[in-house]
């Protein structure tokens, strides 16, 4: 008996052969699933006293080797400077956040070393930032400096909101005045008519056919 599945109408495999092939494939596939093979690879646990301490089984898996952290790396003043400098690796983060987040980045550690070198030369935070601006342009700063056209960046939104707020207040006051005038105005009824007008109205009404 043949299995009729393929586009040419027949598949020249017997049912027994097909099932055997299926079982072999499943076994083969399961052998290739990494998580199922984990038991053979898990002997690398290196808790103190339970495994090979010291060197990792496969250091390449842990990413780029890193130098030990120094006291300068945790210096709040250095971190404050680095939080104002834009990492140029394309991550959109500041140097401090990038170097302590994306440990594969080689740009932010180099920029960090540059900051440390400048600080060791005795430069202040302002001078270090100025040096970076001289080297990379103003885009190296996480926020544009408050001068020239950049002032528009900082103050246009607030200014517009204030102007819009004042305009809105004036408009609302005018609306309120109009509404108050409308409610205070006498209703357009007979009470607003002069005696002559009322007499004329009465005469006209009397003349109408009943």
């Amino acid at each position: 008996m043949t299995v009729t599945r393929r586009h040419d109408g027949t598949l020249p495999v017997s049912r027994r052969g097909f099932l055997t092939l299926g079982v072999v494939s499943v076994l083969g596939a399961s052998w290739n699933v990494a998580s199922w093979r984990r038991a053979t690879l898990q002997s690398q646990d290196s808790l103190p006293g339970t495994g090979p301490s010291g060197r990792l089984w496969d250091p390449a898996r842990a990413g780029r080797p890193l130098p030990p952290v120094t006291a300068a790396d945790n210096d709040a003043a250095i971190q404050a400077i680095e939080k104002q400098i834009h990492c140029t690796c394309g991550c959109n983060l500041d140097v401090y956040t990038c170097r302590t987040t994306d440990f594969t980045c080689t740009v932010s550690p180099a920029m960090h070393q540059h900051v440390l070198a400048l600080a060791q030369q005795g430069q202040s935070g302002r001078q270090i930032l100025d040096q970076f601006v001289r080297e990379h342009g103003v885009a190296i700063l996480m926020a544009p400096p408050k001068r020239g056209f950049n002032l528009a960046g900082y103050f246009v939104p607030s200014l517009l909101i204030v102007v819009a707020g004042v305009a809105l207040t004036l408009v609302l006051r005018r609306w309120v005045r109009v509404a108050v005038r409308a409610t205070e105005a006498p209703p357009p009824d007979a009470a607003g008519a002069t005696p002559e007008e009322l007499a004329r109205l009465r005469r006209e009404l009397e003349r109408l056919p009943s």
């Binding site: 808790l47 898996r61 780029r64 302590t100 309120v176």
Partner: protein, 674 residues
């Protein structure tokens, strides 16, 4: 299957173009035959796009690596969950997802909209078909066809970016897409109302649920995005003012403004021009967000690969914006208010100022996002506009908005008297003042954090007062026990009290954001057995002891995990296991750079966030970053409360007559005759 997918796309495009034509002409000439044809065209387009989605999912699950999209975003060993979500992981698939969801929403709108709005439906069908056709055109003519084949078949695919292999990314993008896409339905109704000149409050009733749905999806999508960024990216925060994050916030802000100002139109017949402008603006901002994400015009970590589709979106944005606002301008004389503002001290006026702030924040976010381009145009220098800029500009505006969140509900509709204001403000203002005092006495000196928490106290007291008064009134009037009175108060005034629950969530979010002002962190290199300490803002000392490193394989990755014991004031409280992950394909070849997987111990008051940076010279000596993030737990729960409040507001119920009456300008002063 790719042939089927391509055929389905072409069919959807042809049917969509016909649907758009039939819809607009049928609506304009009031021809029932064309109106029916447009309706059926949207259904047919939906069916064809669903077939295209099925074809792409089939290719993904079959590992048909001859399809360029499948090879680019999946691999044989990618978990099934992420293989499914690869549908919207890339530019091309997400365009298909967008068009399909839009056609589904459009079909639902045509089926579910009550018959009394049937005059609007042909144009609604036309707008939906037109927008969906645009997305299909981008796929077919903008080199973004997800069924494009390769000239060869790779043995395995490149796999999904490790950062996208997180449950947050399975739900966050679709939620945001659903939010963006569903704005098209209110926009379609707005265009239909403008074209047909039926600009009464009726079209607002038709779109109420859709605007809420859109806002809800955007809210959930943004919160899930924050959660994903926090648990996956490893930088220890949840919002970085990235252009793509900003793009998702813009329509959320304008939709929030609309949800407030629409109440003024429904109750008082005012702000018609403003509300229509907000709907059109929100939709344009949703397309603008798509343009930013896909054009590469602004650099962002979230962007898709730079491609030519950006030009399509820019052109569409300009044409749609000009056409919509031109139509809007011609109808302005028909959009006059039916009543007038009676007092500056009224709920209406407070909503207007709330709208001013929401739109002001949206403008400032947009301004900051586009400022690098503007700076390059004006002064020839590109500048970076990062978190310091956005925080400086937006935090004061956000705090003012928080204050208005508390002030608005305390002011009566139409006009508030001085005794009434005194009575309403007494408890909330006292609570806010006391909160500020307690914080100052407790030693808190950060101005923004002080203001955020004190204003949070003020708004929370406002909400509590509203619930307490409502419950007491029911208890007195109907002799209901308090829990029943509370439940019925909420159940029978879902819109009002659901809104207050949303406000509660917003308060929690603001307080949680303020917590990040007290974040502390340290880097340390530790050998097994060595410890590092960090003091939390609450005065606890946390000690982290490095116990060792394990390396093992998981399904599609090779893991290097450090085990860190955590002690608080000397008492052990648990273990953290930050990881480095090297993802591999089905053949064991590395697919991406090793990624970091933070380990987080989340507690009510603070999170302990640990990142394994790497190892020193291939030994177990490891570099860690330990961070203590106060109040982060509350960000997620604040987000959940916002979503819960939104669901309560949206929950169906009440008679259509009652809903129409509410849209019929029904506010009266006490004692005023009907």
């Amino acid at each position: 299957m790719t042939v089927l997918g391509n055929l389905a796309l072409w069919l959807a495009l042809l049917v969509g173009v016909w649907g758009a034509l039939a819809g607009f002409v049928g609506g304009r000439q009031a021809r029932p035959d064309l109106a029916h044809s447009a309706r059926r065209a949207v259904f047919a387009m939906c069916g064809a796009l669903l077939v295209a989605v099925f074809a792409l999912e089939w290719a993904l699950f079959q590992h048909d690596f001859n399809v360029e999209y499948v090879a680019a975003y999946t691999s044989r060993n990618l978990p099934i969950f992420y293989t499914w979500s690869a549908l919207y992981a890339g530019q091309k698939g997400s365009l298909l997802f967008w068009a399909t969801v839009l056609s589904v929403f459009g079909s639902l709108a045509l089926v579910l909209t009550p018959r009394r709005h049937r005059e609007l439906l042909p144009t609604v069908a036309g707008v939906v078909a037109l927008v969906a056709s645009f997305f299909i055109s981008v796929m077919l003519f903008g080199h973004a066809n997800p069924f494009q084949r390769l000239p060869y078949t790779p043995l395995d695919g490149s796999g999904l970016n490790p950062q996208l292999q997180n449950p947050g990314m399975v739900f966050h993008p679709p939620m945001l897409y659903l939010g963006y896409i569903s704005i098209t339905i209110p926009f379609a109704f707005a265009i239909a109302a403008l074209l047909s000149k039926r600009l009464d409050a009726d079209w607002l009733v038709a779109i109420r649920k859709w605007t809420l749905l859109s806002w809800l999806f955007l809210s959930i999508g943004i919160c899930l995005g924050m959660w994903w960024a926090y648990v996956e990216l490893g930088w220890g925060g949840y919002w970085a003012w990235d252009p793509v994050e900003n793009a998702s916030l813009l329509p959320w802000l304008t939709m929030t403004a609309f949800l407030h100002s629409v109440m003024v139109q429904e109750k008082r017949g005012m702000l018609k021009k403003w509300n229509l402008g907000l709907i059109i603006g929100s939709w344009l901002l949703s397309i603008f967000g798509t343009f930013i994400t896909r054009s590469g015009v602004i650099s962002s970590v979230h962007s898709f690969t730079q491609s030519s589709v950006g030009y399509f979106f820019l052109a569409f944005l300009i044409v749609a914006g000009v056409a919509s606002f031109a139509l809007y301008a011609t109808r302005l004389p028909l959009l006059t208010a039916e009543t007038q503002l009676e007092s500056m001290v009224s709920r209406e006026a407070s909503f207007l100022f709330n709208n001013l702030l929401l739109i002001g924040i949206a403008f400032s976010v947009l301004w900051g996002t586009l400022f690098p381009i503007l700076s390059e145009l004006v002064q020839g220098t590109k500048v970076t506009v990062g978190p310091p800029f956005f925080n400086q500009v937006n935090i004061p505006l956000g705090l003012a908005l928080l204050a208005l969140t508390g002030i608005g509900p305390l002011i009566a509709w139409r006009r508030a008297s001085l005794p009434n204001l005194r009575r309403q403000f007494a408890v909330p203002a006292t609570t806010g003042g006391l909160t500020l005092l307690v914080l100052l006495v407790g030693g808190m000196r950060d101005l923004y954090a002080l203001l955020a928490i004190a204003l949070g106290g003020f708004v929370a007291a406002t909400i509590a007062q509203e619930f307490a008064r409502g419950t007491r009134a029911r208890h007195r009037q109907y002799a209901e026990v308090y829990p029943l009175a509370f439940a019925r108060l909420l159940g029978r005034n879902r819109r009002r009290y659901g809104g207050y629950i949303v406000h509660t969530g917003i308060v929690i979010l603001f307080v949680a954001f303020a917590g990040m002002a007290f974040k502390t962190e340290t880097e340390a290199t530790l050998r097994p057995g060595e410890s590092a300490s960090l003091r939390s803002p609450y005065g606890h000392t946390y000690t982290f002891t490095h116990l060792g490193i394990s390396q093992y394989d998981a399904l599609n990755r090779q893991i290097t995990a450090a085990t860190v014991e955590v002690r608080r004031n000397g008492k052990p409280i648990g273990f953290l296991t930050p990881e480095k992950r090297q993802h591999v394909d089905g053949l064991g070849r590395p697919t991406f750079q090793p990624s970091t997987e933070p380990s987080i111990m989340s507690m009510l008051r603070e999170d302990i966030y640990t990142v394994l940076g790497g190892t020193v010279n291939g030994t177990e000596q490891a570099v860690f970053r330990f961070t203590i993030n106060p109040l982060v737990w509350w960000v997620w729960y604040g987000g959940m409360i916002v979503a819960l409040g939104g669901l309560i507001v949206m929950w169906p119920g009440g008679s259509p007559a009652a809903r129409r009456a509410q849209a019929g300008y029904a506010v009266r002063l006490v004692g005023e005759e009907r």
